[in-house]
Amino acid sequence: MEPSGYMPIVLQSLVALGFVALVLIVVPLLGPRRKSDKKNENFECGIEGQGNARMPVSIKYLMTAILFVLFDVEVIFFYPYAVNFREMGFNGFFAVLMFVGVFLLGFYYVLRKGAFEWDR
């Protein structure tokens, strides 16, 4: 790609970052400021906070996240295939079919092992 082809990306990044920076600067200037013990609590509606946030969580979250990342990467391999879908013909189709088949095998294994069952 020509270097000038990156201009839209640069502009979009600048607009996104600039908007965040602008909001972060402008909001404290415009908004009213009331500081009290009640206002500074982490959750000011409902139950009072107990303990601290630094407690170990269940491995089930990590398990779901790892499996999500694996299938996420699988879907990323579809992008180069989808762009070349017509040109590839059946050769590319079978290559991707085999790839997806391996993933389906893994998905079946994961389901049978009950990694997605939350309540066990």
């Binding site: 992008y79 040109e87 066990r120």
Partner: protein
């Protein structure tokens, strides 16, 4: 122009990587690591690997960072329970890391500088060209990558097995 972009990205990546290692707060380390990933994604763009750069941002800065955060959440990181390594451990870690550095430096010093094909074809890393190569010339490594993912899936389930009571 390209040289200045490269130097900026290189300096940013090295500085953020150092900040990641030296910051005391593990969550700050993760944030600095995200900055490092973005700088490296910029290097990919300079090397005409545009698709790889986007994937790098999506997968590494997006998904794998979440994994790191989950790992941080699973560890008990209260300041009173933070494990204090003894001096012995620190010396051992320094020796191990030092020998790794020595090995890497030695290997890189003896290596031959390959001609960088940067300006060959600027469109080589776009998703269309990459797909053509991936599904024809490199279809076997592609399938092997699938099997690698299967191994990762089985490994993740097996490691978490004790807690899941399968």
């Amino acid at each position: 122009m390209t040289l200045y972009i490269f130097l900026t990205l290189a300096i940013v990546s090295v500085i953020t990587a150092l900040l990641m290692v030296f910051s005391r707060n593990p969550v700050h380390s993760v944030l600095f690591l995200i900055l490092t990933f973005f700088a490296i994604a910029g290097q990919y763009v300079l090397l005409n690997a545009q698709f790889l750069a986007v994937v790098h941002i999506i997968v590494y800065a997006g998904a794998i960072m979440v994994l790191f955060l989950f790992v941080l959440m699973m560890l008990n990181l209260n300041s009173e329970t933070e494990p204090q390594k003894s001096t012995m451990w620190k010396i051992m870690a320094a020796i191990a890391a030092g020998s790794l550095l020595l090995t890497l430096t030695g290997a890189l010093r003896g290596s031959v500088q390959l001609a960088t094909p940067v300006q060959s074809n600027p469109r080589v890393g776009l998703v269309e060209n990459l797909g053509k190569v991936l599904f024809t010339d490199f279809v076997v490594p592609f399938e092997i990558a699938g099997i690698l993912f299967l191994a990762a899936m089985v490994g993740a389930v097996l490691v978490g097995k004790k807690d899941l009571k399968l």
